[in-house]
């Protein structure tokens, strides 16, 4: 078998998303909203879009997991796959960064740790990155998946 290219993987992921959308009988339209040499974002939009996001994006995350498992195999080139719907990921990122900054300000003032609700690895990364260069707080994760959560703590004085 010939080596699989990134473009082949992207085509497979897109075809998977279209196949899933068609199989549901829901009003969904699939499009690629971001395409870079090592990453692709596939957006599932339409009047039934809310159904494929799910509470806390659990449906989008499940779609992402099954799509990557079905389409990308050992030995294939690296490709980051993100499933999105009606701009959900960007709105969610804004909310997470806002929440992280608000809590960081509280932690700074009170000198006490604050805990966030459990988040997926992807969403935890957004929070960690948002506070990476914060002068007076630090972040770390505690607990086991799927209930792993972020703790924002005062940065120890150097």
């Amino acid at each position: 078998m010939a080596d699989v290219t990134v473009d082949t993987l992207k085509e497979r992921i897109f075809a998977f998303a279209e196949g899933y959308a068609a199989s549901t009988g829901l009003d969904l339209a699939v499009s690629v909203t971001r395409d870079t040499p090592d990453a692709i974002t596939v957006s599932v939009d339409g009047t039934d879009a809310a159904k494929v996001v799910g509470r806390g994006s659990r449906v989008l995350d499940a779609l992402q997991l099954v799509a990557t498992t079905a389409c990308i195999h050992r030995g294939d080139p690296r490709l980051n796959v993100l499933f999105d719907s009606e701009g959900y990921r960007e709105r969610r990122e804004q909310l997470l960064v806002e929440t992280a900054n608000d809590l960081a300000a509280q932690v700074e003032e009170a000198g006490q740790e604050a805990v966030l609700d459990p988040l997926s690895a992807l969403e935890r990364k957004i929070v960690h990155n948002a506070l990476l260069d914060h002068p007076s707080v630090m972040t770390y994760s505690e607990g086991l998946e799927p209930n792993r959560y972020i703790v924002i703590a005062p940065r120890p004085a150097q």
């Binding site: 549901t24 009988g25 159904k51 449906v59 499940a62 779609l63 099954v66 498992t69």
Partner: protein
């Protein structure tokens, strides 16, 4: 919904021809019994059932409009 179960399972396995999905309809629930080749069982279930749970999530998302409970059972 049956078409969704079939689509997802066939995408995951090496032997799509061996995939059989039967639909068992109860009063307020529907059960999908998925049969795959024994070699493909691990692919459909995944580590700690992660893939099986993702399939359930994706099928339930579609079932929401009918307000029915949906179960997906995976058998070899």
């Amino acid at each position: 919904m049956k078409s969704t179960v079939e689509f997802l399972v066939k995408e995951l396995v090496d032997n799509p021809d061996a995939v059989e999905v039967s639909e068992i309809t109860g009063d307020d629930s529907t059960t999908y019994e998925v049969r795959v080749s024994p070699d493909d069982l691990g692919k459909v279930i995944g580590k700690q059932g992660r893939i099986a749970n993702a399939i359930r999530t994706l099928v339930k998302a579609v079932a929401m409009k009918d307000k029915r409970k949906v179960y997906v059972e995976i058998l070899a």
